[in-house]
Structures are given as C-alpha cells and as structure tokens.
Symmetry: C3
Amino acid sequence: MKKTIIVFSGDLDRVLAAFVIANGAAAMGDDVVMFFTFWGLNSIRRPEKVSAKKGFLQAMFGWMMPRGADKLGLSKMNFGGLGASMMKIVMRQARVDPLPEMIKTAREQGIKMIACTMSMDVMGITREELIDGLDFAGVASYLGEADEANVNLFI
Amino acid sequence: MKKTIIVFSGDLDRVLAAFVIANGAAAMGDDVVMFFTFWGLNSIRRPEKVSAKKGFLQAMFGWMMPRGADKLGLSKMNFGGLGASMMKIVMRQARVDPLPEMIKTAREQGIKMIACTMSMDVMGITREELIDGLDFAGVASYLGEADEANVNLFI
Amino acid sequence: MKKTIIVFSGDLDRVLAAFVIANGAAAMGDDVVMFFTFWGLNSIRRPEKVSAKKGFLQAMFGWMMPRGADKLGLSKMNFGGLGASMMKIVMRQARVDPLPEMIKTAREQGIKMIACTMSMDVMGITREELIDGLDFAGVASYLGEADEANVNLFI
C-alpha cells in the first residue's frame, strides 16, 4: 500500500532515515510519495550554483542553506560539518549507500518526489535550483496522497 | 476523514507546518484534531503575562519559554530571533498568513485544539496562560482520536 | 489496534513523549511496536561501560553519545544537562514516572522494542551495549509492522 513521508528536516541523519524507509517500502512493492518542505528542500537542491533572480532575504536564505544532499549537517554533534563527515565514513564502512546514491535509487524505483511550492515561494527557491524529476505541488496534493496511504510520516 | 497532529515542537517553522496541514485538511472537509504537548504548548500561550502561582522551577520554565505564537524561534538559523523575523517577512512577501492568523483560521474552521494536561502539569502551565477555545485532555484522549483518523502526524 | 513508533531522536523530551504514547496505548490494550534508530538507540543503551571491539570513529561516536535513558539531554534549553535535571525534578513533582521507569513499564506491558540493526552497524553499537529484552531487525521488519498498524509515528 501507499506510504507518504513529509521530509521537513534538512538534517543529514533525518533525511537519511526518510530515504531508508522510502527505498525500503518501494523495494517491497509499495507506492511511495515524498513531500519535501522547508529545510527538507535543501536535500534536493542542485549542488552547483544556479543563478536566479531573488529578493534580498530570499537570496540570503539561499546563500546560508546547504546546497544539496552532500552538504547537509547532522542534527546533533555536527561540529561544523565534522560530524557529518564522520557519519559518511562510518556509513561507508557499514556498506550503507551515501545519501546522493539513495536519492538516485529512489528515483530509479519510481518514488514520487514532490517539492512543496509554498515553501519554495517563502524561501525563494526556484525550480531550476532543484534536481530533476520532481513534481511541484502544495498541501492539498499531499493530503490527497496521504488519504490513499496506510503509513504517513513527518520527518 | 479525521486527521490528528501532535504538536510537540515549539519551533516556528514546525508549528507553521502543523497549521498549514491542519488548515488545509479542514478546508477539504476533514475533521482535524491538534494535540499540543511539551514545547508545542508555547505556540498556544497568551502573549500577555498572566499571574499564576507556581513552584520555582515551573516559574523558570515559564519565564524562559516563548509566550505565544508570535514569539517562537526557528529550529535552524534563528540567530537569536533574527531568523524568525526574516521568516515572517518572506512569508508576508509570499502572501502566506502569519502564524497567529493561521491559529485564528484553525479555530474558525472548527479544528479541535487539545492542550496536553500532563505536559501542563510538568511545565507548570495553567489554563489561564493559554488562549481561549482549547480542550484539555491526556494521552488516552489523543489515542481515541487517532484510532478514528487515517493520518496521524507527530511534529 | 497496533501502533508503531519510530524513536529516531535521543532527546529526553522526545523519548519521553514516545514512551507516554506507547505505554498509554498498551494500557488501552493495543499492540505497540517501538523501533529505535539513530540517536534513539542511546535511550536503550546500558548505563555501564561495556567493552566492545570497535573502529576508531565508532568508538568516538560511542564515547560522545549519552549512555542510557538517564543521561539524555533536552532538545531545547538543556544548558549542558541542567535543563534535563530540572525536567526530572518537575516531572517528579507532577508525579510523572522518570524515563527509566517508563521503559521498565513498557517491557512489563509487552511492548515490542526493536533496535535498528543498520543504525547499530553504522554507529558501531553492539548488542551487549543495549538493555535486555530487545529484538533486532531492519527497515523491512518495521514496514511489516507498520502495515498492520493504524497509527504510525516518527519521533
């Protein structure tokens, strides 16, 4: 049955948890919908700088927020990125895919990834700044998906 | 169908997400129950000082915690309130209602807002310190509502 | 009906919320499954030092992370542990069980507590370092339980 996950957090550890669950469910044959909102949008930003016309504050948000899955920090013990680097190493030692690889797998498995348009408007993130293969929709769309699902998580 | 949301967090961004989902669901005709617990209680505190007899530690918690929806900080990049102020400005630019307005809408839409009595006891928050129109109940009441709902989120 | 809770967080306040809900549901006759992952594993570590052969980074993670339910900090206003101590005092004043007691109750009520093996591998946490009475499984097992439940929370 369908599963939905709201990816609100932009912390590496939380986003990893979201993709482990999403990819696991898809591998078991479930339809999976991920809805990226607020800081969660950072996990699906392109790593390269994309020029986009923005207001001053939106530009500041864009400049201060991490650009993509490889730049996220841990929610705890990050120590300016050191914790995230340590986490990537121990993940590799445990043969767990890194986050960018998990995102690729999610797309290959046909997981529906929706970027929240309201959050994009508020934070001034444009479609060009996000990775390919996304849908764009709002809360009504999320609720429609959740009504068809038997597991709905907010991460 | 019914939706329930536990508002555990008292961070502006997370509480906003809770009310966007709640108001969206109510607008689509769903029954919605919000259960405010721990830091989430701060989002439904009255902004004005309310005199209440408290123990010393409860008074300290009350004094250190933000008083109401307009005083909440961001979970990330808050910088002593600057981030929250920036967030309010970019929300206004994107024509998104501010949080106090969203709470008003929630009440007008008949969303059931329950304050967790156990958290109130622990943190020493009295009924007089909270906004009007709330219900007061514990975890059994939450579980009863959740059993009737098809989407249950913990935020 | 069955309830599942993913305990991702290792913050005292969030873990408390998880056990209040879990114990409440079990007391009402529900089957309850708690799935401990990432920082949540800290809440089910043994308080005593357990010798285990580990890589350098895993040893560092183990050394920096709190050892057990009594050592967790608050997600907000922790002030190096002072906030957690204050929380324990106000909980006692409100006659709310401390977390180690809640965990004991959970086991007595037959709540199924699963430690996430992938997180254990990544963070280098061994079975010997965790409390008794746990199951050990991965995401597929969680999804199987969630499919049978009507309330699934991520905390």
